[in-house]
Symmetry: C2
């Protein structure tokens, strides 16, 4: 779902808005960037995800699971490995895997090494479905970004990698003093 699709960068004039939330000048730019990032991702995601759903009757979540399994090239992969790579909770991956197993897209077995662990692998059917989805997915994404020239795409990629690195650093810096309710700084 969309999130924060509101430009808070204008805290308002104050007219008829006595207790308006106070947003600092320095935060406005960050909020505008976050808003654009969110809108851009959600809009394209809705487009590509909607087509994936309509054409292949599969969700982006399932496509992600298959994509990650594909990287293991036919080998078994631990459930935890997949769930962390697709950025979903352990509880969610269990249900997702259940449904994908029921549809014969993937198969699950107990790990031979660690009896706590389970492993996943694509089935032949899963591989076929994945290949079909992959081709369409790549074309749809490329279509969505059609109007952007290669130089701008490369600039964007570099900037987004910077943002992710900066965010990771922020997290690791603040990991000692975990946020208490109401105060983060």
């Amino acid at each position: 779902m969309a999130s924060t699709l509101e430009d808070h960068s204008d805290p308002g004039t104050g007219a008829s808005d006595a207790g308006a939330p106070v947003i600092g000048e320095g935060q406005k730019l960050s909020l505008s960037l976050w808003l654009q990032l969110m809108k851009c991702t959600k809009e394209i995601e809705a487009g590509v995800g909607g087509r994936l759903r309509k054409v292949h009757r599969q969700s982006l979540a399932r496509f992600d699971v298959l994509s990650q399994l594909h990287r293991f090239g036919g080998d078994w992969a631990a459930v935890g490995e997949i769930s962390s790579r697709v950025m979903t909770s352990s509880g969610n991956i269990t249900a997702l895997v259940d449904r994908m197993v029921a549809e014969d897209l993937i198969e699950r077995r107990a790990s031979p090494d660690d009896r706590r662990s389970h492993q996943l692998r694509m089935t032949g059917t899963g591989r076929a479905v994945f290949d079909e989805m992959t081709a369409d997915h790549a074309r749809w994404v490329d279509d969505a970004l059609d109007g952007i020239d290669d130089v701008d795409k490369q600039r964007l990629i570099a900037l987004l990698i910077d943002v992710r690195r900066a965010f990771e650093e922020t997290k690791s810096e603040s990991h000692i003093a975990q946020a208490a309710p109401g105060e983060t700084r």
Copy 2:
């Protein structure tokens, strides 16, 4: 949830991968950009959304609904207006609104003008919760983007607006020939 968190830009060597999906050279760059866009958004969303959930016991979806209602400054807003602005389905907004009404964050009434339509407004409680969330949200987003300088933020904003505009144009161009299963071009 995360999506497409797999870099398809390398279609592989072909070794032990006979039927590998074919991805054109020109699509690789688009896929890399899409991957970074997705990862960047999802990672920050997980951080900010997780804190919002933990600290304020509210989802980003609810924050979005309150944000949109806030723009109406105390006036009633049509349910459809809100659902389209937060980019969610009519079915979802009904359930979301039900829960928010039950928690006294917002109130709902039949529209006086159009008897098909319903309207929403923040309650005093909702406004108070929104104000608290807004301050934290702005700070968390700013923290997440702490390491990026203002010039790069502005570059990113401009580029993302370009991407959204390009995507909208693509959609309106292809709206006549809607994609049939398996063939989009």
